[in-house]
Amino acid sequence: MEAQLTPPALSIGEQGTLTIRAPNGRRLQNPPTAIEVPGLNIQFSGATSQNIDINGLISYRMELNYLVEALEAGEYTIPEQAFNIDGKQHTTKAIKVTVAEGPALPEALQPQAQLTVGKTEMWEGEEVPVTVTVVMHPALRITSQPLPVIKTEGIAVSRFDRQGRMYDQTEFNGQLWNTWQLPSSLVAVKSGAFPLGPAEVKLEASVPSTAGGGAGRDPFGDFNYARRTINIKTNTVPIRVKPLPAEGRPADFTGVVGKFQIMARSDTPSGGPQAVQLGDPVGFEIIVTGMGNLDAIPAPGLDKPEGLRAYKPKVSGESRGLGIEQGQKVFTQILFTEKPGPASVIFTLPYFDPVAGKYAVAKSPAIQLIVTGSPEVAAAANTAATAESKDFSGTPDLVPPGEALSEILPQPLNTSRWYSLTTASVPVHPWLLHGTPAVILALILGTGTIRRLRAWALSRRPPPYAPRYCADIARDLRRTPLSRLQFYGFVSEYTGAWEYWKKSPLPSGESLAEVIAARDRWLYAANADAAAAPVPSDEQTRAASLLTSCLSA
């Protein structure tokens, strides 16, 4: 395998390419992604594979490329590297590389940096803002964010990348320079007067190359760029750190400097004093807000710990910046009640106020507890395991599952319906109570009955087309005087009515047949004069009697 570095020598910040060729290589397995050489940064940038046809003979060639960046001046050796190609192990030769210092950055392009401090006279432990400003020529192309480092004994500086950088442009001699403002904060941990800084700023930038003489421009007049690492130093700032006064220092002061407030709430907030069973742990959320070195804030203690025992606190949340703006730190604290009766829970945090220059104590509003129960039961329940088994992570505003009433509703009520205890109830008389619907029922029954009777009577009435009753016709048969036509007309009506009402044909018989024959003769065959003559009485009587006897009405 062949290995070649192009160019063979590099200047600081300059980049080259290490090419490794594997003839007849077709399949590469797991090449190293980086090659570790102090002073050089070598990263795998890819592999290419080619088929070469020479007079019909096909051969393969594989090239592996690594980007080599010179970081520091010196003589280096890129060691032998082993590659697995087509299942076989191949090893390259070691390559020597010389990294020269390279030409200095032109004075006109040299970036500048400045260190500024919020106040030069400060208290021990006080958070003070600090800013590093970097100004760069527009021809420099920054490739990574500048990262200042301040190394001064007795000073702790927060990382400069914890806050957003401010980028701006500033005009110098009619030219716009790029400006970065990098804010942070520092805390003096040692008192005395000493210089702060300088801050060292490391910049990764592409700078116009002057290699090959001239201005280092390409045929189109543009700059050729080379990547460089630029280290610049800022000025120093004399500061004076004052020790915290011994006078007025609270006994439980732990070195918290700033200005803070405390809020606290229990895990089961109530409108009034909270009822607590002796032995039951009570969870509290303590919220410390303010400005200062929040990192140094311990869990607030109890103002009057009598009858209360604090379990180990936990930090349950933190929201802060550099300490030079408002921040918040939240603790979860579990307390055991150790004796029955009322108890007042107040959390305190002593701190030193750098503005006022004196100590102060932040106190939470009091939370009242009413502790009930017997000490024997409490002793059994008052264990750390009990507290561990309880979940205080939920927000106190959430309603716990199930009903856990803690007090009666004490408001008296004043609107209601009043009843007399002496006045006996006046029962409605059963006759009145049931009489009314009974009467209504009777009315409906009566109405229905009357309707039905009427219908029945109506149903018995003969239809309009029905003949007269036989009895009525029989009376007419005996009426005198009657002509033959009239008499036999009645005879005909009588026989028809009989058939209608009896719903059967006329019975057969000689005497009845004679009467029927006489009827037919006088009604249909006789002349009109003879038919109009009066019917003889014996004939009338006999025929009428015969009819009424044979065909009873």
Partner: protein, 263 residues
Amino acid sequence: MRFFLALFLLFSSALTHAADDPGPAFRHAMTEYMAEDYEKAFAEFKKIAEDENQISATLCHNIANSAWKLEDKAAASLWYRRALALDRWLPEARQNLRFVESKVAYLRFEKSGLPKFAALFPLTWWKAACQGAAWTTVISIVWLVWAAPRRGRRWPLVTLLCLAVATLITSLFGLIGKKLDPAPLTKLLISTPEKETWARTAPVEAAQTVIELPPGSELMPIREEGHWTYCDIPGGEKGAPLRGWVRTVTTEKLWPWESSLVE
């Protein structure tokens, strides 16, 4: 329809016997209560019930509140129950009674099935509903079958008949539930001891104890012998019957007044 409405009003008219607002006495007791003089408030509220013979759900509730403030848990639970006997949906009394129960853990009869359903309304309501529905059913059937209403009135009558039959069946269940109720309000005793008390195996102090009765426990009297009452006691395991002798003076009737007020 106006006619049927009048019919129902006729039955409902048997349910009421209202009294006048006691006015100044009640307001004075309220003032004492607001001034947190619960002893006076308790006495004055009770005076309205005992001397002026007037009662209301809120009066009972206020007496119970005063009793609770005076740490008389038995009286508090008794008077909350009385408030609920008059107005079973009074939310404050229901909540406070639940609270008292959570603190005292008194024994009480658990109702289930028909008695629980029947307890939703007083007996008088069930009776009135049953009678009204029965008459409406009979009249509707007779009207439909015998009197043959006019065409436009048939379906409203059928609808009314269905509603009446449903009401009749429901109210019959309610009445059966009342009949099966193991602990009717007007018969219940409430344990109101000054100190802790026990149900015993015989009507003598020296007898063995059956069960401790927390203040406010419900008891159902079976018979009395001298100063003792033989009672059904709630709390038997899995609903098993539990009986014992209780000193009569340590009990108080839940509703010593006119039963028609709460039944």
